[in-house]
């Protein structure tokens, strides 16, 4: 199994500012995934972060808005830039275990005012 620590657990931010979310895994993993879960909706994959290369973004998500860093095999950050109220959501970090199941961080609940 994998243990994922994600922080902050929640934050309230002013519109126009940026927030960086950190994700730390207790084991080395090739890929880390960032999801968004908007109120009442499912998890939507934002991007896949590979160590040593640029992140791969899903349709509708761009690097300028959601820059991602992946400096090593156990850590990643997601920045939500120039925030607006529409960015209010839960952001989740995830990795895939050896048995192909997904493990998740506890999530970051972001409120933009």
């Amino acid at each position: 199994s994998a243990v994922i620590s994600q922080k902050p657990s929640r934050d309230i931010c002013q519109r126009g500012t940026s927030l960086t979310i950190q994700c730390q895994v207790d084991s080395q993993v090739t890929m880390m995934f960032w999801y968004r879960q908007q109120p009442g909706q499912s998890l939507t994959l934002i991007a896949t972060a590979n160590q040593g290369s640029e992140a791969t973004y899903e349709s509708g998500f761009v690097i300028d808005k959601f820059p991602i860093s992946r400096p090593n095999l156990t850590f990643s950050t997601l920045t939500v830039s120039n925030m607006s109220p529409e960015d209010s959501s839960i952001y989740l970090c995830s990795v895939i275990g050896l048995r192909t199941e997904a493990f998740f961080g506890q999530g970051t609940r972001l409120t933009v005012v």
Partner: protein, 109 residues
């Protein structure tokens, strides 16, 4: 493109009644299907996956390729089963996982 459909947003059952949470998928290849559960104030976690063919907390799920379904079942619901349940599809050879919209199961005492 792959898709996962959970038609029910909310399912309310009485304690001791059978439970069936529906999940349908669309994918042209060989799917790998999972059920994830999120209890109140806890993180999302794996409940079971089809290749294990196991029963977890009394829940089972059978992959029906003909009907492209992976419904989650439990013969007798318990109050502690109240949670949010997500069906998920992982496509072979790639670690991307597609989630359904989730079903909130409410077990009434």
């Amino acid at each position: 493109a792959q898709r996962v459909t959970q038609p029910e947003k909310l399912l309310s059952v009485f304690k001791g009644a059978p439970v069936e949470l529906k999940c349908n998928y669309s994918y042209s290849g060989s799917p790998e299907l999972f059920w994830y559960v999120q209890y109140s104030r806890q993180r999302l976690q794996l409940l079971l996956r089809h290749i294990s063919r196991e029963s977890i907390k009394g829940f089972t799920a059978d992959l029906n390729k003909g009907e492209t379904s992976f419904h989650l079942k439990k013969p007798f619901a318990q109050e502690e089963d109240s949670a949010m349940y997500y069906c998920a599809l992982r496509t072979g050879g790639y670690q991307k996982v597609t989630f359904g919209t989730g079903t909130k199961l409410q077990v009434i005492p």
